[in-house]
Amino acid sequence: MQESWDGGPESDLGGGPGPADEQLVRIETARRAYSAGMALVVTVTGEIDLLTIDRLRAAVAAGFEDLRDGEILVIDLTPVTFMDSRGLQALVDATQAAQQQREPLRIVVDHTRPVVRPIQVTGLDNVLALFNTVEDAVHAPL
């Protein structure tokens, strides 16, 4: 069983910047069942920068709100084609918020260089919980 919805401008918190940001990034949230349990997966496709960062933050915040007991929140960045320091900050903020709520936040990056490069050169690979696939993220022990 699977639910999914699109993090489009209607679901944004506050007014969105307009159609340009929709062309730059698409964010979809889906609830998926795995053998290890349920996961809420936020999949980000496209570019994360100053224009689109608010939508990413809103989608992650909505994910936290909609998370059910025992579910794992996963952010899948494998389809991201560009990410900058604002994306890094959003990931750090989300990780810290998850730790305070004791709900693990897992980030999937595989070998996507646009995402891996800024994470590695700023040393955040020691701070963020990174996985190669959504399956790995869901099946990793808490």
């Binding site: 100053l50 560009f82 260089r113």
Partner: protein, 207 residues
């Protein structure tokens, strides 16, 4: 030492204007104010025949890319950042820049442009962000780029408390060989970021 021998050899005159020769004054080191002047490459000397458009942007728009130069002026709006990224990517791909270093340059330019758009014009009407780039030969017969991002808003000293910019500047420094943030020399308005890339092997413009 900033040199731009390639650009000056080819760019002796642009219509009515003449470029001054390079006067590189100082080696760029990270976090020092810019006193080298790669802008000398890109700004024509003022002359009676200069058009007001030429004076505003500093060069004729159509020629520069064929001579390893990049120039654009964008309104300080968030959508402009993706326009700048695409322009830098296109420019460097055309000059056969190695893919990984190309993406590092795009990332660094993105940071500088984003900071300008987010912070420069908060206390005044929105203005423009200017991006100028040049491909230069290095002393060891390699090449590198220098990209200058400039706005005309308020001067932004290096951030201490601003989280978003605090992460962006180390990212720029990791991607570049040198980053210099300072006030422009010609007038004390706005912020100028000078990005010097790592050196890469020589290459040709693709036909």
């Amino acid at each position: 030492m900033i040199t731009a021998a390639c650009a000056t050899r080819r760019y002796d005159s642009v219509g009515d204007t003449t470029l001054q020769p390079i006067r590189a004054r100082e080696t760029m080191t990270p976090a020092m104010p810019p006193s080298a002047h790669p802008e000398d490459i890109l700004l024509p000397a003022s002359s009676p025949g200069q058009t007001s458009r030429g004076q505003r942007f500093g060069y004729r728009p159509r020629l520069p890319e064929s001579h390893g130069l990049l120039g654009l002026a964008l309104p300080a709006e968030p959508i402009s950042i993706s326009v700048a990224r695409a322009a830098v990517r296109r420019w460097l791909a055309e000059w056969s820049w190695p893919a990984e270093q190309l993406e590092d340059i795009v990332l660094a330019v993105n940071e500088a442009v984003s900071n300008a758009i987010e912070h420069a014009y908060l206390d005044r009407p929105p203005g423009m962000v200017e991006i100028r780039g040049a491909i230069e030969a290095t002393p060891r017969a390699q090449r590198r780029v220098t990209v200058i991002v400039r706005d005309h808003g308020r001067w932004r000293p290096p951030p201490i408390d601003d989280e978003s910019r605090r992460r962006g500047i180390p990212l720029m420094q990791a991607c570049m060989d040198g980053v210099a943030i300072g006030q422009p020399d010609d007038k004390p308005v706005g912020t100028r970021v000078v990005l010097r890339s790592k050196a890469v092997p020589p290459g040709r413009k693709q036909c």
